[in-house]
């Protein structure tokens, strides 16, 4: 067979077809977002100004960002010490932790929220009636697989034993070792896990909707139902958010060859 010069015709076909399928909805949303609300005619930026001047937009966006930050902090507090300890002292426990951390990947969020609502109905209202309690508790579970895989890979790429011994023989306490020696070395992995968690929380609708908490995706849904053209502007902004989180992830992980990740919860 002689070496091929240029692309195969079937390759052209499939790439163009897939490209069109992916590009057309984005283009259509953009064109839609430029239409005037009253007349449906092009072109105006009114939809974007509507979004920017909407109080609920900023309010729900703030809630979702804060929820994401809280979820990231809680997840890191749970996972960094656990994975550190498993790598340092309990290597035989690693498959168990990996298995448990993977479960949320196969349990549909809709099933998870049914169970959570059933178990925690009737708990104190500071937990059950607050997004900072109930919703974050659920989101930490959604973040489990991503936290585990990022951090586990991060810990595997450093020499935990030598770092710990060096730090302790210089007189550092356990918290100092963890914060000042280990954490800087797994910074990239922790950042990657955080970006993934941010993307999950900013897009999560299922649990927030069933538990009736006002988050950014629920605001999006509300606008979808009531304001067609501003909804297009919001959709693009939301895509940009996902895009940004995913690209930051790739940039952070470039050195370690991190593969792209697939999130649960948003669908």
């Amino acid at each position: 067979m002689k070496p091929r010069r240029g692309m195969a015709p079937t390759a052209y076909f499939w790439l163009l077809a897939a490209g069109a399928y992916f590009f057309i909805p984005l283009l259509a949303t953009f064109l839609f977002s430029l239409k005037a609300n009253a007349t449906g005619k092009c072109c105006t930026a009114a939809s974007y100004t509507w979004v920017i001047h909407n109080g609920d937009f900023w309010h729900t966006l703030k809630i979702s960002v804060l929820l994401a930050l809280e979820t990231i902090v809680v997840s890191l507090l749970i996972f960094v010490p656990t994975i550190y300890w498993v790598h340092l002292k309990l290597p035989r426990l690693r498959p168990v932790v990996a298995f448990l951390a993977l479960i949320p990947f196969v349990v549909p969020p809709i099933v998870m929220v049914v169970g959570l609502l059933d178990v925690y109905r009737g708990t104190p209202s500071w937990f059950y009636a607050q997004p900072w309690g109930f919703l974050v508790a659920a989101y930490v579970i959604l973040a489990f697989p991503y936290m585990f895989f990022s951090l586990d890979a991060g810990f595997r790429s450093i020499d935990v034993h030598t770092l710990t011994e060096a730090s302790q023989s210089l007189g550092a306490s356990w918290p100092t070792t963890l914060l000042k020696v280990i954490l800087p070395n797994i910074r990239a992995a922790a950042l990657a896990a955080s970006f993934l968690t941010l993307a999950i929380v900013m897009g999560e609708f299922t649990i927030a909707n069933l538990a009736a908490f006002q988050t950014f995706p629920r605001f999006l849904q509300y606008v979808n139902e009531s304001q067609a053209y501003p909804a297009a502007a919001l959709t693009l902004m939301s895509f940009a958010l996902t895009w940004g989180a995913m690209l930051s992830l790739l940039l952070v992980g470039r050195k370690r060859g991190t593969r792209a990740a697939v999130l649960t919860g948003a669908r």
Binding site: R4, F22, T206, L210
Partner: protein, 295 residues
Amino acid sequence: MAPEALRPDVRSGRKRLSLAWLATIPFFAYTLLFLFLPAGSVLLGAFKGVHGGYTLANVRVLFDHPYVDAYKTSIEVSLVTALLGGLIGLATAYAALREGTPRWVRSIITTFSGVAANFGGIPLAFAFIATLGSIGVATQFLKNQLHIDLYGQGFTLFGKTGVEIVYLYFQLPLMILVIAPAIDGLRQEWREASSNLGASSWQFWRYVGLPVLMPSILGAIILLFGNAFAAYATAYSLTSGTVNLVPILIGAYYTGNVLDNPHLAQALAFGMFVVLAVMMMAYIPLQRRAARWAK
């Protein structure tokens, strides 16, 4: 060097080991509280009666209308989008990775797939409403420029077909992401060898390419099935909660304040567990059969 060599206490120190367990308690406690308790409550709740006691009534109701129809629609949508997404994704991934395709195309496709596989839910639903909805850009273009009236011919985005079209938007890139490493493993020499022996392109795929890829393809399709089966937000937003899918039905119990029998929602959730488990079970023998060819 094994790390244990530096740390004799890892292997021999029993006292240290008993203390070492303590540090993992927060993780295991969290898993118990927010993963196992809720899962257990769904499994048990599915078999609880409204007035206490255990019953099979909730699960039996799943075989009546409209519940059994919801399962049928959910399974159908998941199968169709998994198979179509799998096939088109495979073709696209191969087109992007094969010899002759410039490297920049390849990196654009893989980067974009990594992002697009995560486009989902409310924004994705709206992007398609803006495209193929009744006043969508593509719908209007077809109507005004090409005189094809989609909605006049009975097409609607807001039903099962629409949900399938939209789901493909995240199924396809997911397939590309998952199958790309396997395609990279298909060696150029195999193609050349079969071509030298006089095989056509079809024969190469029939006897070499597909058998080698089959275990990965099956695994990816199971993943895609689960991905579509669990989806809620996209279909809810697209159809305003009117399409009869199992997740939508469960959701309606909680958002619509019609919770006369909470155990029915749990039974529906339990049914989802069962369908996913059956898919996994079916995957194991299929995978074993397919893996035989890979040797």
